[in-house]
């Protein structure tokens, strides 16, 4: 029995709960023609040392650089040299191929789990290019592009995915939960959003120490709902922290569309306004726009002008993970209908349009990337695949809980070793 007694209320209207629903469900024909996409080059580029309020209009539009003619246009054009662009293209292609191979490896039973970032490659790759090599990233599981762009060996990534003898994390983490300090890539957590305020803490430490390195935190659209998002924003605002906070809005959180995280009413970039920090909303499938926005935010942070929240607007083109089948909650052809295109094709077209690239070079580059990935896979599989693991070196399971193994873990290790032998 509920408390309510509607008779208490005269002629007040009945209240109603609004439950957001995505525009399209399985069976519908996705049609994004009503989506308002600002033209490339339109967004103004304020001074990165200016007041945060200068950026507020930018939280409700999209910073876009690549025009329909594939030319770079407007104030946000980062005017990158072709070599940088070609490296970005190559990195993005490598990510795509890497994802495909590892997805397949999971399907072949070589590991337990995999997550792709298909359609989102521009974001991590261009962010890596825009930050300095010594800056620190606090990523989620869809920023494999950071590692690849920073030259982390593919074999290391694969060994982690296979939890094999080459896995520097000793088989302890779920596949793709990479960690690498030398490459400025903080340990990925399975607990969503935890890394976002951690990035702020790292940058606070840098500021305390008078360092010049900054941090960049990452979070998904769905995970912005966690309290940790608010912690990150609050601490970043209070202490004017030199951090770039990125929300990758790929419009889905497993089966929940971004409306369940609040996107019906406000952009994710707009959250910045609430805290009085700078905010930018960026076409995440436009590598140049991504680069430019991260560069701007990094400049701002590095000159003690404070944090920036960036929303990268994109689309999760594939399933959430190997455990997910998106045909259960969205039309299968929605990714194709998504109007902001494939970030790889868009960057390639730009290079072609500016005479810096052609089909032949593209084919050759892709073949090379493919060969590299295959070679790395072969190499790493020599060190084993998951089904063979977990039998040797069982004692290692008890290491690194503490710096020194306490008695109770030594005892348990001996028990476990005893089991192993029995």
């Amino acid at each position: 029995m509920s408390d309510k007694d509607p008779s208490l209320r005269r002629n007040a209207p009945a209240l109603a709960l609004h439950v957001p629903e995505p525009p399209f469900r399985p069976g519908d024909t996705p049609d994004f023609s009503s989506l308002k996409i600002p033209a490339a080059g339109e967004a103004p580029r304020p001074d990165s040392a200016g007041p945060a309020s200068d950026t507020y209009p930018l939280t409700m539009t999209l910073v876009r650089v690549l025009g329909d003619d594939s030319k770079a246009i407007g104030a946000w054009d980062p005017k990158l040299d072709p070599d940088t662009l070609r490296k970005m293209l190559r990195d993005m292609v490598t990510v795509r191929i890497f994802d495909d191979r590892m997805y397949r490896a999971q399907r072949q039973g070589k590991t337990s789990f995999y997550m792709k970032c298909t359609g989102e490659e521009a974001i991590a790759v261009a962010a890596a290019a825009a930050l300095d090599r010594e800056d620190m990233h606090f990523p989620t599981y869809r920023q494999q592009g950071l590692l690849i762009a920073r030259g982390y060996p593919l074999t290391e990534m694969m060994c982690q995915i296979y939890s094999n003898k080459g896995d520097r994390l000793k088989g302890r983490q779920l596949p793709i939960m990479y960690s690498d300090k030398p490459h400025g890539f903080f340990s990925i957590s399975g607990n969503l959003a935890t890394q976002f305020p951690q990035a702020v803490g790292w940058a606070m430490a840098a500021a305390i120490k008078g360092d010049s390195r900054i941090a960049m935190g990452w979070v998904g659209d769905g995970a912005t709902a966690e309290g940790d998002f608010h912690s990150a924003m609050t601490f970043a605002a209070v202490y004017n922290v030199p951090v770039v906070l990125a929300t990758v809005n790929n419009q889905w959180a497993i089966s929940s569309f971004s409306g369940i995280a609040g996107a019906e009413r406000a952009t994710f970039a707009q959250r910045a306004v609430g805290y009085g920090i700078a905010g930018l909303r960026v076409d995440g499938n436009d590598a140049l726009a991504v680069y430019a926005a991260v560069k701007w935010s990094a400049e701002r942070a590095r000159s003690n002008h404070g944090p920036t929240l960036i929303e990268f607007f994109t689309y999760r083109a594939e399933g959430h993970s190997t455990s997910d089948d998106p045909s259960g909650y969205r039309p299968t052809n929605e990714a194709k209908a998504w109007p902001l295109g494939d970030p790889i094709e868009r960057l390639k077209d730009h290079l072609v349009a500016t005479g810096e690239w052609d089909e032949d070079r593209d084919q050759a580059m892709r073949a090379q990337c493919d060969a590299e990935v295959r070679a790395a896979q072969k190499e790493s599989e020599k060190l084993g695949i998951l089904p063979q693991q977990g039998k040797d070196d069982i004692g290692s399971m008890f290491e690194d809980v503490y710096a020194q193994m306490p008695w109770h873990l030594s005892e348990q290790r001996d028990e476990a070793l005893g089991e192993g032998r029995s």
Partner: protein, 337 residues
């Protein structure tokens, strides 16, 4: 009688209760249109509408907090935390609010709600899809803690939990959602349909909260277990040929101490089994109660079979999971002493 696996049984419990009681609402991450990542809430939104079954933002704290508000209003929220490993952002609301509301308001406001969450190992889920945090809730006065081990119990206990006037943390052993598991990961998976406990009556019935089940009678040893470990324990004592009495606790708080005492007084030996890490696991409370109450009946120290005091390491799934080998050594020990 239909044959259900545990997911179907839980789904059916929702349906029975939502049809019976308009105040029951269901929400959580991905539970609406999609029906949950383990499909426990499949079809509920279609049947009961979007305002009674809906997706929630990824905020376990917000999910529990809004459920508190709803319970204060007079609804009965049944919420899903996608994995028990992700319950911690909601821990403050559970510990400080849900658990204490009846007490601090002297019964003026009560918190009839069920917090469902899949827990436990055995699926190569790594550190954050394998945890067994039940003891962290057993320490909190005001919460009931329930863990079923069969489809029949899952449905009956979930219905009882929804009807209970107090908040229930309902842990679902995800490894046995689709079939019982004897701990032998290298053997073929057995479906629930081959098990008698998959015969689940239609409609409304309850399995009482606070009552354990003696799933096997025996004379020489009492084994206390719950969730997946009930099945692992059953297999292990058969393999070792020990005439053990196996008690499936089903409810950790309030505990069925009578059943435990009665059995240990009879057998004189006791083994406590869980997946969770050893130190301050619920096994510690069980051992303590047994030694407090049956001290003079004990012929040997009560033994514990548990997970290790480490995070749950991905590749070492079977070295971490308390499987047949760990059971065997403990059984030998407790019978030899």
């Amino acid at each position: 009688m239909p044959t259900f696996n545990m997911i179907q049984a839980l789904n059916d419990a929702h349906k029975v209760m939502m049809a019976q009681d308009e105040d029951v609402v269901v929400f959580g991450e991905d539970v609406g249109y999609f029906g949950g990542v383990f499909r426990v809430t499949e079809g509920l939104q279609k049947q009961f509408g979007k305002t009674r079954v809906f997706d929630a933002p990824i905020s376990e704290g917000g999910i529990v907090a809004t459920a508190v508000g709803m319970a204060a209003y007079g609804l009965k929220p049944v919420i899903e935390i996608q994995f028990a490993d992700y319950i911690y952002p909601g821990y403050d609301q559970i510990v400080s609010e849900v658990a204490k509301m009846r007490y601090r308001t002297a019964g003026e406001w009560t918190m009839p709600m069920v917090i469902r969450t899949p827990y436990g190992g055995g699926i190569f889920g790594g550190q954050t899809h394998s945890q067994s945090p039940e003891s962290l809730f057993t320490h909190i006065a005001g919460l009931k803690v329930v863990i079923p081990s069969t489809p029949y119990d899952a449905k009956g206990l979930l219905i009882a939990a929804i009807e209970d006037p107090d908040p229930v943390i309902f842990f679902e052993p995800k490894r046995i959602y689709n079939g019982p598991f004897d701990g032998h990961h290298d053997r073929p998976v057995k479906p629930w349909s081959k098990d008698r406990a998959s015969e689940v009556p239609e409609g409304h019935y309850t399995v009482p909260i606070g009552k354990a089940a003696v799933v096997r009678e025996g004379a020489d040893l009492t084994v206390l277990a719950y969730g997946t470990m009930v099945h692992v324990a059953l297999a292990a004592i058969e393999e070792q040929g020990i005439d053990a009495e196996i008690i499936d606790l089903r409810t950790l708080v309030p505990l069925d101490l009578d059943a435990i005492e009665k059995s240990v007084r009879k057998t004189g030996r006791c083994l406590v089994v869980h997946e969770a890490p050893r130190t301050s696991g619920f096994g510690a409370e069980l051992v303590t109660l047994v030694q407090e109450r049956c001290f003079y009946h004990l012929e040997a120290p009560v033994e514990r079979v548990t997970g290790w005091d480490t995070p749950y390491p991905h590749a070492y799934e079977w070295a971490y999971f308390p499987g047949p080998k760990r059971m065997k050594r403990a059984l030998e020990k407790v019978m030899a002493d």
